[in-house]
């Protein structure tokens, strides 16, 4: 039985935190509810204008599809790789971990410089379409988040025992991977996926400098000319990230722990 009452200094800091985080959101909400004509509260004009803007839906769709594409490519690329390293080449784990930190030293603004220059001459279907060039870049951006999620997931199950048990029962490699391993790292994969979703739905730097029309670039255009709608968009964008995070939370809580054959580590 430890201390049972909240420390006074803790109360102060929590209030400070609440104020700092909520005030901008509340302010944005109030701002977005200002009527276009009177510049005062309260009207849903801004929201209604956005919902009726064709570009809003078009760009959300582009960004969303981009997210899904990024997620799929990332999973296809990173899951087998991480699995293989954990299973057969554990000495490479630190190498992979180090590689996952590279995007920190090569941030999007620097990466886009290299990518634009290098792939200038690439065919149109890749270079000119968001689903080619952007998705490729986004997979790199998502790499650290995906990798650390998957790595943690693989570390928490006893990979060798599961694989051996499955094989001793006669399963092929494919069956082992899809029916035994995958279900057990589902939570980690989903976690990484939702983080990727949040990142792609909010990525502006590369999209803007490579001249693509995604949801974040659309927001910036509105930002420059229509303040009240921009506020409404800011809130919507916040809600999208919030939804992704809640989904992450439910995955973390709702799923039963993957079956552990023996205590690891």
């Amino acid at each position: 039985m430890r201390r049972r009452w909240i420390a006074p200094s803790a109360v102060v800091w929590i209030i400070v935190a609440a104020a700092f985080f909520l005030i901008p959101l509340v302010a944005t909400l109030l701002f977005s509810l200002r009527s276009i004509q009177t510049n005062k509260c309260c009207s849903g004009d801004a929201y209604s204008l956005i919902i009726h803007d064709h570009q809003f839906w078009a760009t959300i769709r582009v960004s969303f599809v981009l997210s899904l594409e990024t997620i799929v490519i990332s999973l296809l690329l990173f899951v087998p790789t991480t699995y293989w390293v954990h299973l057969k080449l554990p000495r490479l784990r630190p190498v992979l971990g180090f590689m996952a930190l590279i995007p920190f030293v090569v941030p999007p603004i620097v990466l886009v410089v290299g990518l634009l220059n290098l792939y200038k001459g690439a065919p149109d279907w890749f270079y000119a379409k968001p689903y080619g060039f952007l998705a490729t870049a986004y997979v790199i951006l998502a790499f650290p988040y995906m990798y650390f999620s998957l790595d943690a997931g693989f570390r928490s199950i006893d990979l060798h025992t599961l694989t051996e048990a499955s094989q001793s029962l006669g399963a092929s490699w494919r069956t082992t991977l899809t029916r035994v391993i995958l279900p057990n790292i589902r939570a980690a994969a989903l976690g990484g996926s939702f983080l990727t979703l949040a990142i792609v739905m909010g990525e502006f730097t590369i999209a803007s400098l490579a001249n693509f029309k995604t949801f974040p670039t659309y927001i910036q255009i509105v930002n420059e000319s229509q303040p009240y709608q921009a506020a409404a968009l800011a809130l919507l964008s916040f809600l999208i990230v919030w939804a992704a995070m809640l989904a992450l939370l439910f995955i973390g809580r709702g799923r039963p722990r993957p079956a552990q054959v023996a205590a690891t580590r």
Binding site: R2, R3, R4, I6, A7, A10, W13, I14, V16, A17, F20, P24, A27, T28, F31, L77, F78, T81, W84, L87, K88, L89, L92, M99, I102, F104, V105, P107, I109, V110, V112, V113, G114, L115, L116, N117, L118, T136, V139, I140, H160, L195, G202, E203, F204, S208, L209, P216, I219, N223, P227, A230, A231, A234, L235, F238, M245, L246, L248, L249
Partner: protein, 294 residues
């Protein structure tokens, strides 16, 4: 294949070539879309249009106004990293320590996850709506407190405005990063210190901060890099009129008046150098602070 399940030293060496093959797609991808573009940028920084090597571009980055921009970007990053570390630490500790209801910690962590990812144009606009010239809080201060920050030289589009806005994702990032380390602070240490006569301040000075220091340093570097590389938020605040290095790079990339890709690469190279230097400073500092763990 079935016999190579355990990375046994002997069979491992024989089988290694095959196993490495499976990693090819990944390494190829990383090579093509991360390493080579990065290398290309570094090399390109030392080239001039039309071919040939030159130091001109790099030299140019060391002159004004670019040197000032580097300094400003570094300054803002140091301030937001430092501020984020201190404030984030206090908030995280307040939420996690004994006595605070569990739901506060959960709410804070979830919210931090959202806020840390909320960076970019929407965040910039949220702060314009809050502290801009006709922002809600600005209006409140004017009408009810008789104080107009804009009369005193403040602007949301200036250095301070950028710093305040950046804090919105720096503090949550700190909270997320330092929470596990705070979990590792055993309640017994605090109690033992108190029992031996120490005040709260003495506990933090002799035990709390030293134990947390390795993690705090790591968080600081992370926050620094995060702020230093930020583009979207700054751009959302004031487009091309904010003089930070990432913005300038974007300016030269986006084909405006003076489109000069090699100069943009030189600037990017400069960023690369700053970030690499920070990483290099971090390693010995980390080692020293974690001496007692060896």
């Amino acid at each position: 294949m079935g016999s190579a399940l355990r990375p046994d030293a002997r069979s491992g060496r024989r089988r290694v070539p095959l196993a490495w093959l499976a990693l090819l797609p990944f390494f190829a991808y990383a090579l093509g879309f991360l390493f080579i573009p990065a290398a290309d940028t570094v090399i390109g920084a030392f080239q001039k249009q039309g071919g040939g090597a030159t130091l001109d571009n790099v030299r140019k980055t060391l002159n004004q106004p670019y040197l000032d921009q580097y300094w400003l970007t570094i300054k803002i990053s140091l301030i937001t990293a430092g501020g984020g570390c201190v404030i984030g630490l206090c908030i995280a500790y307040a939420a996690i320590r004994e006595g605070t209801p569990r739901f506060i910690r959960t709410t804070l962590t979830t919210f931090s996850g959202v806020a840390a990812n909320f960076a970019g144009v929407p965040l910039a606009f949220a702060f314009i709506a809050t502290l801009g010239t006709i922002g809600i809080v600005t209006g409140f201060m004017r009408d009810h407190l008789g104080f107009d920050p804009y009369q005193h030289g403040f602007t949301i589009f200036g250095e301070t405005g950028v710093e305040i806005t950046y804090m919105y994702f720096q503090i949550p990032l700190m909270i997320l990063v330092i929470a596990p380390a705070i979990d590792g602070l055993r309640a017994e240490w605090r109690e033992a210190a108190s029992n031996l006569g120490a005040s709260a301040w003495q506990f933090w000075r002799h035990v709390g901060i030293p134990v947390l220091l390795p993690s705090i340093l790591g968080a600081f570097i992370l926050l620094f890099g995060n702020s230093f590389s930020a583009y979207a938020t700054a751009y959302g605040l004031a487009g091309n009129s904010v003089f930070l290095v990432p913005i300038t790079i974007g300016f030269y990339l986006s084909g405006n008046v003076l489109s000069d890709p090699h100069f943009a690469q030189a600037l990017a190279f400069g960023m690369f150098v700053v970030l690499a230097v920070m990483m290099l400073l971090y390693i010995p500092l980390q080692r020293r602070s974690a001496r007692w763990m060896r």
